[in-house]
Symmetry: D2
């Protein structure tokens, strides 16, 4: 993710990308291309000119790096999830200052979804009743990724769980999830699932369905439908182009965006723009440590439900 | 429903609408407008010229009327559901001849959904993995309807349960349903719900989500998305017209079809066309008594799951 | 066209299809299927029970049949064009009563175009400035049709010329047309063209483009775009169904309506419904003899312009 | 246009933006923001480190600046039009080297239109027969702009004339244009028009319609429809986002792109990327001085036709 966030930080007028920390030698080219130099984490944290740190390390390093940066008084942007272990995340929570920690739930920064939220809040379709979130990855990850991923719910569904909380404005009190291994038997052999549906219910009775697959076969399907008392709002997929062909056989059009880097390009930029505001103390982080705790708690509930075939009550 | 099916039978070249049975005097005008005369059920069943009967009475009369017609050797078209009581339906099953009984699951006859099924069967998106069925009524029924309806699942979801079975080609082995009363508190006072989500799972791991509400606020939302190994197929809503307006404020377009009579006009016609073939012994009924039993069983499972907050295993 | 209008008249409650006049013996089956009997034109016109006549004969017979029917005091529905010879049409005009003659410009009855007109008149996009009419036939007519057709402009463009007059609410004062023979060289050998563009200009400066081809290769393309001072309104093509498929290669959808009978099914019905009102003296004909004269005059202007390569001033 | 091209040059890895030439003092901020310094044209042309020049001055200065740059041996990117006076453009032509001069016809670089061209060339719809180009500006320019603009055809339609030549792959031999002043009477008082339609015809009979207005009232309408022997390809408008709302009143969606900077953002970037290749001698300019001559010739033909009400033969 450093290859996504680094260039965005480099082009943000309110930020200056000073250091790249990466044990791999090939990162030097990346650093110099963006006007930065290579350094160790210790050097970075010891530099008083550094106001903020972007943590894009592997998931198992997120929490340690974040704690070190926070300890050094830096503003922190941290890729999700904070950690795969909810107990560790909860234990570390008191050491984080919500005003200085931005969690990488990029979808809240997406202009499409932001527009949907804005219309919902403006009451365009009345009071929200139900929600449908589609999050389908284009193609299954390499087998080696699965054991370190934390499983489908903590690694992938967690984005939707954050979106559900944000859009519903209310915490789920019941969670049901069911899952299958339909895409790649190897994923099953490694103890994970690749296809899932989750249903969340809030205290007021709002219902949210989450649709996940590791492999859509048709691109990166990212859609939201929000149903209110007087209508519905949907944010559709972004298509590669607007060219259509008509023949006697029918119409053909462009595929949807193939993967996250293209689909959420604007979201990733807006997220770093927001981090610049956080670093300079001009904005409260939009997605906080507490949001990370809540989404991880729900992800564990989903995983439990799918494993036991029972509804999980929160 | 007689006002839907009667005219379709009258215009079907293979059928002749001879009698209308209706205790209400005002039905005489309807009968004569379609070239039929009023008669009692006994008269109709005693007439050897009658090859088939369309049963469009109230739900509590369906089974009695169907048994009488079957007993008289007539081909039977019967509106869904056969009955609200699964035990009664199972008990009567031996008295029905599958070759002469057509159940009114109209959606299988819809050209949109038939096209989707045809493409699925042709393997256009590979092996089916998951399904998403949207069935949102435009506006809540009058309060007096609820006590006789059998509840949301038996009255409304039953259509989707039949579609799920048909499209997946495999029986669900697990059912989860959750529901709320968000549309009209009066529905809740009468012991029913108005908003629900169901998740079905088959033995091979296929997942199907059903989305229901009694009141969409934006018309009669009838959509299907079928996700396969290499892509997805969707049948979208039918819009009233193709006229769009563009201004600086954005685009506006026509609403979707407002209700079932318009949306499924072609399906209702195709269903009666098919019944003509059944009457004349030229086709096996597409939707059988056994399909009615299966859908009702699933509807009861959904109702139980929603009531107990637990997964139902079949 | 009798096979389009006859059944629509037979099903119209305000009309009774009593006679079919057709020299071909095979028309007897058609007549009896719609509850009519075969008769000669003389018999029909002598029958005092006959209030109106549908003239669907060949173009060269339209005017003679219409005059005979008008002379017998019948209301007349006449397929376009009245005649290919403008002088004959003008000479006969005094013998027609505008209140009893309906010309077959079916497109004005199309619900899509009627909606567009309604929004234009309601001022949704401000004052109309320009218009774009697309009228592309799916496939070239058989070669034998061309010599009797009157040529592309009188046979085909005439529909668009009527639509232009209706939608602009103002008569063209300048006409430019240019044409090619790109579809079938045989059409060229018979002295006609198969591909054309016309531009009309009114006194107030409104501009209208007409796009015509005898063979689209992708169905029956029937679209209108109306550009006003504050926006635009478009009536798009009607697609066969709403089913779309998405794969990595892109999306595919249904073709547009293949030909006039399907595309204008509702328009043809509405036209006959309107004729029933005309017959019973309850409505002024929507498309009059005078409209036929005006459209034919413009068609001759287009033909002249295309032939001479000059602008025609009216 | 310097504010569009400058940043794109600054971010292009193959270019280094060294100087900004601008008589206005406020340009200094722009220059320093992009790592450049202010200089006179003479200084720039005298600097042997300079390989290429972007000419974004006012139209009346384009040719003089281009000649100076070419004389100094620089590669030249020049905004369109080269000059408003065709005779001056023709006279200067021998002094330009086609291999070192890129004309700013940005639309050829648009990914939407490039995709359409690619599918046309691939024969997806057979041999091209006709073309429809829509180019509607969102809002009329300030009155002061009109006298220096060269008129609608040389200033605005010229883009479409270049696209027509590129897409048809064949030169027009006949041009017809008609125009009105419907948007702003002040434009008429200054001797110009604001609404036009042009029809081009090639020797083989291909037809191209161009639709222009200075004020659409609904954004920057930029569409192409290409009709071939077996189908059609269209490049549609780009919408601001994919969010749609459905209520009983119908659907609403986002407006199309409001203006050229947003709509052609990717095209402007691709154009400068291509200029980098031209500067380094790795590519032939895609849009040449000769293309500028041809488009200007056609623009003069359109202006003449609209003024005289006659067809112009080339």
């Amino acid at each position: 993710m450093g290859h996504v966030h680094g260039p965005n930080a480099a082009r943000q007028p309110g930020l200056h990308l000073k250091y790249v920390v990466d044990p791999r030698a090939e990162a030097a080219g990346f650093a110099s291309a963006h006007g930065a130099s290579m350094a160790s984490l210790e050097q970075v944290l010891a530099d008083p000119a550094i106001g903020g740190v972007l943590i894009c390390s592997t998931t198992d390093q997120h929490l340690g790096h974040a704690l070190a940066a926070v300890g050094a008084g830096k503003a922190v942007f941290c890729e999700k999830p904070i950690d795969l272990d909810l107990q560790k995340v909860l234990a570390a929570q008191p050491r984080f200052d919500d005003a200085r920690f931005l969690l990488g739930f990029n979808r809240r920064f997406d202009p499409q979804f932001a527009r949907l939220k804005q219309q919902l809040d403006a009451g365009v379709v009345g009071k929200l009743e139900t929600l449908h979130l589609v999050n389908h990855d284009p193609a299954a990850p390499p087998p080696g990724f699965i054991p370190t991923s934390g499983g489908l719910f903590k690694d992938f569904t967690i984005h939707d769980l954050d979106m559900a909380r944000w859009l519903m404005g209310e915490e789920p009190v019941e969670v049901y999830a069911t899952a299958s291994c339909l895409v790649d038997p190897e994923i099953g052999r490694q103890g994970d699932v690749d296809t899932a549906r989750c249903v969340l219910k809030t205290a007021s009775g709002r219902l949210c369905v989450i649709s996940n697959t590791r492999r859509s076969g048709y691109g990166y399907d990212q859609r939201i439908e929000a149903f209110g008392a007087t209508g519905m709002i949907r944010a559709g997929n972004v298509e590669r182009d607007t060219v259509h062909t008509l023949t006697d056989a029918g119409s053909t059009g462009a595929p949807i965006m193939p993967a996250f880097a293209e689909r959420y390009r604007d979201a990733y930029r807006a997220q770093i723009d927001h981090f610049a505001e956080v670093v300079h103390g001009r904005a409260e982080p939009f997605t906080s440590y507490a949001d990370g705790v809540a989404a991880l708690t729900l992800a564990e509930a989903c995983a439990w439900s799918a494993q036991h075939g029972e509804v999980f009550k929160l």
